[in-house]
């Protein structure tokens, strides 16, 4: 194969080869779809998330201003009515999760009110060593629950990859190993729930060289096939 320092150039040249003009068929079929699905006025459009909104992290940071105003308005109205004596002062916050229109592709929005939608902090059970956490950031909105598994003593999982297996049709188990130092992981689940990145910060200072297992269990709102999950272990 070509020398490594030429690798990028050869790869770029090779990728440059190939078609650059689209056939007409997909355009025509998309136009047919557009004609058969005329745009209707959407009175709730101000509540819908922008597909290119900045990536949010944690509950609350991804809220859209319109949504915040709507929730605040409803809360104030409910409180005002309660103070006026018409109703008991207990306030029921309505479900304000945006109702997205049917689409073949998910949107990159961390729903602020969906079940376990963003920033689920899981304290992992480990057989030895210091505390381990995983902050599960779910951009798919399909994670219902994230919990720790119970690993045994010693190291049964690889330390340079994450093993994924099904527990049942909607639940997968992620298993990996690492040093027993305190580690605060991030698990990023993309808008496509099959694409995940586990970020594992390195240990600081001297560490015990014996690895310990971590197990994270994710339950989804729909079936998920472990073999289809693509997970990258990002060791920074």
């Amino acid at each position: 194969m070509t020398a490594l320092n030429d690798f990028d150039r050869v790869l770029g040249e090779w990728l440059d080869e190939g078609p650059n003009r689209a056939p007409d068929r997909p355009i025509e079929l998309a136009m047919e779809h557009a004609r058969s699905h005329p745009r209707r006025r959407d009175p709730l459009s101000f509540l819908r998330p922008d597909p290119m909104a900045p990536r949010s992290r944690g509950l609350g940071m991804g809220l859209r201003p319109g949504l915040v105003l709507a929730v605040l308005g409803l809360l104030l109205a409910a409180i005002a009515i309660g103070v006026g004596g018409s109703i008991q002062p207990s306030v029921v916050v309505p479900d304000t999760s945006p109702t997205s229109s049917p689409s073949a592709s998910p949107t990159p929005f961390a729903s602020p009110t969906g079940p376990a939608s963003a920033g689920i902090l899981v304290e992992l059970v480990v057989a030895a060593g210091q505390p381990q956490t995983v902050d599960v950031i779910d951009e798919s909105g399909k994670v219902l629950e994230a919990t720790s598994g119970s690993p045994g003593d010693g190291q049964g999982f690889p330390s340079d990859a994450v093993e994924v297996k099904n527990i049942d049709a909607t639940t997968v188990q992620l298993g990996w190993a690492g040093f027993p130092c305190r580690t605060d992981h991030d698990l990023l689940i993309g808008t496509d729930p099959l694409v995940m990145t586990l970020v594992r910060p390195p240990c600081e200072g001297v560490t015990d060289s014996i690895g310990v297992d971590r197990i994270l269990i994710l339950r989804f709102s729909e079936p998920i096939v472990a073999a289809d999950v693509s997970i990258t272990l990002d060791q920074r």
């Binding site: 194969m1 790869l11 440059d16 056939p23 745009r39 459009s45 597909p51 290119m52 993309g190």
Partner: protein
């Protein structure tokens, strides 16, 4: 011009959407083909992307983000097509257009490199192929790739590193297999 088309298509004008689709479909197809290495799968990915553009364009607040958004959509559609293909089993792989042209002797090395690249590239995950295409074909920076994929820049760098390493490993393994077969022959 594109901004105007984006705004008008977002309001539901079919003519504008038609013009916009024709304007961007070449770029979308080129990216999809390079990720999928299959003409028909790339067509399906482009069609799905154009339909999503029509359905969701009103939600795009900033028309200047249209290009990044469409890159995101075509990558997502291509990855989905690749997964569907993998689940569906074997497919007919089209030969490159120039495969029936016998290379001159001094070109054998280059052709061998390309064959190895093709085989190595096909062994990568769809996500790994996508990130390599975004950088080496679309010429995007790490920040742009991160924006398109909706991930932090550090994660984009990490994924690119692992994808490059995986491709090199696949090519080297391929080279060893060829050498071993040569010794057996």
């Amino acid at each position: 011009m594109q901004r105007d088309l984006v705004e008008r298509a977002g309001r539901g004008e079919h003519e504008a959407f038609d013009a916009l689709a024709r304007l961007v479909s070449g770029r979308l197809f080129a990216v999809a083909y390079r990720i999928l290495r299959d003409h028909y799968l790339a067509e399906d990915a482009v069609q799905q992307t154009l339909i999503t553009i029509w359905n969701e364009l009103p939600r795009l607040r900033d028309p200047e983000r249209f290009d990044a958004w469409t890159y995101r959509l075509i990558v997502r559609s291509s990855v989905a097509e690749a997964r569907r293909e993998r689940r569906g089993g074997a497919s007919i792989q089209l030969l490159p257009e120039d495969s029936d042209v016998s290379p001159a002797p001094d070109q054998y090395r280059a052709v061998a490199d390309r064959d190895q690249l093709e085989r190595g590239f096909r062994r990568l995950t769809p996500e790994q192929r996508a990130i390599l295409v975004l950088q080496h074909y679309a010429g995007q920076s790490l920040a742009e790739i991160a924006d398109v994929l909706g991930i932090p820049v550090g994660t984009a760098g990490s994924r690119l590193h692992y994808a490059t390493r995986a491709l090199r490993a696949a090519i080297e393994a391929d080279g060893r297999n060829i050498a071993a077969e040569g010794r057996l022959a």
